[in-house]
């Protein structure tokens, strides 16, 4: 279980997170929503120990992040940053194999090979495994990085805007993959998503941030309400029902 205690983050004099305290559920897709600059990415980066909080602490499975050995934490939690861009020219298979690094430390075992093969399979990129990542399309590259996180086989998977710059088809594919990981492998997935309708259809639980404050949190159903969403995004949002799911309409 992951919980945060009164996290604040200050960049120079600007407070981008203001005292976020929460207990996050497990075995679900948990979406972080909010407008640009609301502090979603910052919160995700602090939870995953990529950046230290200015105040407060994060507790992962009963232990503060500052007390975790970073190598051990990498077996429990992985984070994929916003549109990972790398100058490094390596093959998809090599990239996905790096996901095993926390377990293997470079000495690949048959277990590691099985995990890599499975990650390639579940993300549907087996046919790309010998291609260089700099020769792939944006969507394929994103999938390859996700496959690396899958191969890492951690309890918690944190994804910062994985749908960035992807078409609807690929976005749906990625969200379905997440559902599969939650259902079949009982992972807990934290994901920053901008398209509110993707959240409505695929997320189980929502954290809504505004100006660095955690304003709402709860089951997706309870957050998909016009007054809440209008408050979060500062625009008028109408919520309609469609086959038992909520659809948000914000095009004017």
């Amino acid at each position: 279980m992951i919980s945060t205690e009164n996290i604040s983050k200050k960049y120079r004099s600007e407070l981008v997170l203001k005292g976020v305290s929460t207990i996050l559920p497990t075995g679900k897709i948990i979406a972080f929503i909010g407008s640009n600059g609301a502090g979603k990415s910052t919160l995700l980066n602090i939870i995953s120990r990529l950046i230290p909080p200015s105040e407060g602490s994060v507790v992962i499975d009963g232990k503060k992040t500052s007390l975790w050995n970073t190598g051990d934490l990498a077996k429990t939690l992985t984070i994929l940053g916003q549109s990972p861009q790398s100058e490094t020219r390596i093959t998809v298979k090599d990239l996905v194999s790096f996901g095993r690094f926390p377990h293997s430390n470079g000495e690949t075992t048959p277990d590691d090979e099985r995990a890599v093969a499975e990650a390639l399979n579940i993300t549907g990129i087996e046919t790309l495994k010998d291609r260089y990542i700099d020769e792939l399309s944006g969507g394929q590259r994103q999938m390859a990085y996700i496959a690396m996180s899958v191969a890492q086989d951690t309890k918690y998977i944190l994804l910062d805007e994985p749908l960035n710059n992807l078409d609807m088809g690929r976005s749906v594919k990625i969200m379905k993959l997440m559902q599969k990981l939650v259902k079949e492998k009982s992972k807990t997935i934290f994901v920053v998503v901008h398209d509110i309708n993707f959240v409505s259809f695929y997320a189980d639980y929502v954290l809504a941030l505004k100006d660095g404050i955690l304003k709402y949190q709860g089951e997706t159903e309870s957050i998909m309400r016009p007054e809440i969403l209008s408050d979060i995004y500062d625009i008028d949002i109408t919520v309609e029902n469609y086959r038992g799911k909520k659809i948000c309409i914000y095009y004017k």
């Binding site: 980066n45 995953s48 120990r49 990529l50 970073t70 190598g71 051990d72 934490l73 990498a74 077996k75 992985t78 984070i79 994929l80 940053g81 990972p84 790398s86 100058e87 490094t88 020219r89 390596i90 093959t91 090599d94 790096f98 996901g99 690094f101 926390p102 470079g106 260089y132 700099d134 020769e135 890492q152």
Partner: protein, 317 residues
């Protein structure tokens, strides 16, 4: 493996050429009828020269490879980061402070100064890297120029410019048995690089990816920098400044075999050795029976390839 076999044959043929080129008469056909003088030439001069060329070429290429990964910039190398210039300054400082300094002391001087200098470069590079990938090597070259000017100034002041000339231009013609063996210390460093190969590749994918995979990014970068500066220091003290090898070789290998350090370490070392050996042979035959310093030839070839790499269009949009 056929590729390995071809590489071995190429290197062996170049090595044979290297052994039998020179003013003193020595030919492959007479190899079984050598007099003692010829055996001496082979064992005191030709074989040491061959070994020093191979070790220097291979280790500098590996150093360049490590540096490109940990700086995440394919235009950075011991030459373009100014590391070589810091090494020269360090050697000079060692000579001025202790005129009788042994080679080991000189290496230590070069290492201490170049490590500090390269860390300084990394700090500056960190500040400018968002303003374009080309700016980082430009800053390194510029800083190297300033350091070089300082070295030259002190060399004049303490009247050791004659001494300095030996490292201003790399040169294998001074290598004889007894004064080059220090170079062999680069060999275990290449094995160390292999041990850390995956870590360097992962560090090259950025701090966040490395941290997410449980690596201590800072310590990997520091280990890489120490390896690079030790290799550079040993080379500068042993045979002088061998420019551009660390820049050109990993880039050419990358085009064919990618950037995964583990996959390309052997190819990089091999190609570095073969390239420097080829250039060394060229240096010895172009104005036969005289010699051109290899630094000159490599500077010319290297700067043209560097230009080519700079103007090469990126592989993806």
């Amino acid at each position: 493996m056929p590729a390995f076999f071809v590489q071995f044959i190429v290197l062996a043929m170049l090595a044979l050429c290297s052994l039998f080129i020179g003013v003193a008469d020595l030919s492959p056909s007479g190899i079984f009828r050598m007099n003692s003088e010829q055996i001496d030439i082979l064992s005191i001069s030709r074989i040491p020269r061959l070994c020093s060329v191979i070790v220097a070429g291979a280790s500098l290429s590996v150093a360049g490879l490590i540096m490109q990964r940990i700086t995440r910039n394919r235009f950075v190398s011991p030459t373009t980061a100014g590391t070589m210039e810091w090494c020269k300054l360090g050697v000079m400082a060692a000579i001025i402070c202790m005129p009788e300094a042994s080679s080991a002391m000189r290496v230590f001087g070069a290492f201490a100064v170049s490590l500090a200098g390269t860390f300084f470069f990394m700090a500056v590079a960190g500040k400018v890297q968002n303003r374009g990938i080309i700016l980082v090597p430009l800053v390194g070259i510029m800083m190297g120029g300033v350091v070089n000017a300082c070295s030259t100034f002190f060399a004049y002041k303490y009247d050791i410019i004659q001494n300095m000339a030996a490292w201003l231009q790399g040169n294998f013609s001074l290598v004889i048995a007894g004064n080059y063996e220090l170079l062999y210390f680069s060999v275990p460093l290449m094995f160390a690089a292999y041990f850390y190969a995956d870590r360097f590749t992962i560090a090259g994918m950025g701090k966040n990816t490395a941290t997410s995979l449980g690596l201590n990014y800072k310590s990997i970068v520091n280990i890489g920098l120490v390896l690079v500066t030790v290799i550079s220091s040993i080379t500068v003290v042993g045979v002088g400044n061998i420019p551009f090898v660390g820049l050109v070789v990993p880039n050419i290998i990358s085009i064919f075999k990618g950037d995964s350090v583990k996959n390309i370490l052997w190819d990089t070392a091999w190609f570095g050795a073969a390239l420097v050996l080829l250039c060394d042979i060229a240096c010895r035959v172009i104005i036969y029976p005289y010699e051109i310093p290899i630094g000159v030839v490599l500077s010319i070839i290297g700067s043209f390839i560097f230009l080519g790499l700079l103007t090469r269009k990126p592989r993806h949009a």
